[in-house]
Amino acid sequence: MKTLLTNAKVIDPVTETISDGEVMFEDGVIIPREKADETFDCQGQYICPGLIDLGVKVGEPGERHKESYKSAGAAAAAGGVTTIVTRPDTNPAIDTPEVLEFIRRRAQEVCPVNVFHMVALTKERAGREMTEIGFLKDAGAVAFTDFTNVVKNSKILLRALSYAKSLDALVIGHPQDPDLSDDTSATSGKFASLRGLPSVTPLAERMALDRDMALVELTGVQYHFDQITTARSIPALERAKENGHKITAGTSIHHLTLNEFDIADYRSFFKLNPPLRSENDRLAIIEAVNSGIIDVISSFHTPQDEESKRLPFETAAAGAVGLETLLPASLQLFHNQSVSLGKLIKTMTLNPALLLGLPGGRISPGAPADLIIFDADIPFILDRENLKSKSKNTPFDGQKLQGKVRRTIVAGKTIFEC
């Protein structure tokens, strides 16, 4: 059955351009234009590859009450995310082929979107011994990361990177100097001083970045920084890229659209890791997205139940859900002319696909028919109770946003429409 999506504004992430056109697919794969068996009129709305969200926390194993593969899948479908790449900071950590095997099966059974898994770089994410990188890679792990548990011991990290390099494995680092950032909940500066919050200098990010980049230079491993959020990291990152190291960088949609002052009177839904930054940092990160120094935007979807957030700011859990707000929040950057639509979509589709070696993220014959149709303009006020995630901890609650997904297609099948 050849399906034709017609009358659409097609966003091509390869060229970052938008053109009136159509997309045809058959058996879950995009094919060249032929005679159609069925036609679907997109009514002039945008069509682009489904989003690939790198760094999604699903609460399996250990915290299924916060998010299960089923609820995460529903949230992803509603948010136009056709591929989620999950994090290993679960309980227990995903650090053995057996645990990976278990959650892969869980995901395949109940999740309507594509799921790929990142696994721990060190056992129990404790920073002492590397995991079975070879077995894990064979079992389907797409990247290795201890996420926020930064490996403190440089010798251990060096060995892990060197070993990963020998297997062509991708390692993802969280650039935060752990000693400086432990027990802090805000970025140092006027806001934290006024609110009396324990704070971390933004340079803690640069320090960790510098160390990791030296080790990358030493080992030649392919390395991705998950969240670059401060202005002072950008020049160092740019130099490393110019020098030809296999380094890429991401950032979070929250750090692109919010700043430290949004915390206001200790609103714990705005407690993130790394903490929200200054407005100058936010603007510098937008600039780095535009110049291509930052490659990937993701939501860092981190479900937290009410109990974890209804606490004094310092003790409240960090993180925000984002699968369903990734697209409308990033469209803010398009509407206020910070970033072009083509560039935005590229950072959420093609770039993460290239990084992880996934076939999706593009609209060309042979690519999987993972597609979304969305209305970029429709305004709405976000009500967190309407989220499909089990956890409702979004900083965008009550905010005016623009843009909604109309249809989410995975491997040629519509899994969501509204």
């Binding site: 140092s188 006027k190 001083s193 609110r195 009396g196 919050l197 606490l311 004094p312 700011f313």
Partner: protein, 313 residues
């Protein structure tokens, strides 16, 4: 336009007129407290609960006395030893107490913003008796009253706050209050104990005590907490005393009639010379304690008034 709020959570949201109303009313209570019969009736029939999640003898006693003199039924809860240890969250504790229908909660908590959070969950008035490193509004108000009585005014004074600014809620509330009343505020302390970008709040920052104290009208010393000494913020107690401890010689750089203040409890020989602290010609430390009771009576009186007019109006 005076003090109209339901809660007293910090100095930051207060207008200068509100501050003045509290200070003026407190003057009356100073007189009352010095008389034989110390009874007043502003809180008659009302229930005041002191919830201290952090150890305190002085402040808790001050609030207890203030409440009792105003006729309130005062209950002290030592929260450190209670339900939080059993795993109950702050909000559940608040809801439980709220169900007992108190009229006034006096709350101290070791975390910034915790009192604010609690105030959102209860129906009664909440008074912040210190939250983390954030604010301690009644301390700033009693300091303001002490300064106004000693100097005859609370504006266009040069005031130095010295010591551990970074961990001090007293310093934050004072910086904000004194700034609102149009004074020049100087902060003196080692850079390890100075909050970042604090000069953005319109204060001058000094690392050298003698330069910082030059020609000031008021010297406010802060307590150096023992745990800071172990935390590597300063090299040793004796070096701290040598560079930042207030003694006669350093004080001689201030104006001849400059007063010395300290929120207590003092570490004699760490941040302040013992003899100087007792010098009745310079030190107003005992008067600060006296003003504390009067300020707390005034603040609770006005909260009760505001709550009542909120319910009827």
């Amino acid at each position: 336009m005076g003090f109209k709020d339901k809660h007293l959570l910090g100095i930051e949201p207060m207008r200068p007129e509100a501050i003045v109303e509290i200070l003026d009313l407190a003057e009356n209570y100073v007189q009352l407290n010095r008389s034989q019969d110390k009874r007043a009736e502003a809180l008659t029939g009302l229930t005041q609960i002191n919830m201290f999640f952090e150890n305190s003898t002085r402040t808790q006693a001050s609030f207890e006395l203030a409440g009792k003199r105003l006729g309130a039924n005062v209950m002290n809860l030592s929260m450190e030893a209670s339900s939080l240890k059993k795993g109950e969250t702050l909000i559940d504790t608040a809801l439980t107490l709220n169900a007992m229908k108190p009229d006034l909660l006096i709350v101290r908590h070791p975390q910034s913003g915790a009192v604010d959070l609690l105030s959102q969950k209860v129906n009664c008035s909440v008074l912040n008796a210190g939250d983390g490193r954030h604010e301690h509004p009644t301390q700033a108000l009693l300091d303001a009253l002490t300064i106004r009585r000693a100097k005859g005014r609370l504006h266009r004074l040069s005031i130095a706050i010295c010591g551990d600014i970074a961990h001090s809620r007293v310093a934050r509330s004072n910086i904000i209050l004194l700034g609102k009343m149009e004074n020049r505020v100087r902060l003196i302390g080692p850079s390890t104990l100075m909050p970042s970008e604090i000069d953005d709040l319109g204060v001058e920052v000094f690392q050298d005590m003698r330069t910082g104290l030059k020609d000031v009208d008021v010297v406010m010393m802060l307590r150096l907490q023992k745990e800071r000494m172990d935390g590597g913020f300063i090299p040793s107690e004796r070096e701290y005393y040598y560079r930042y401890g207030l003694n006669k010689e350093k004080l001689s750089h201030a104006k001849g009639d400059a007063i010395v203040m300290h929120p207590g409890p003092m570490n004699r020989g760490v941040e302040i010379d013992g003899e100087l602290a007792d010098d009745i010609n310079r030190s107003v430390i005992q008067e600060q304690v006296e003003m504390g009771v009067a300020i707390r009576m005034a603040a609770m009186h006005l909260l009760a008034r505001n709550d009542k007019s909120g319910k009827h109006g």
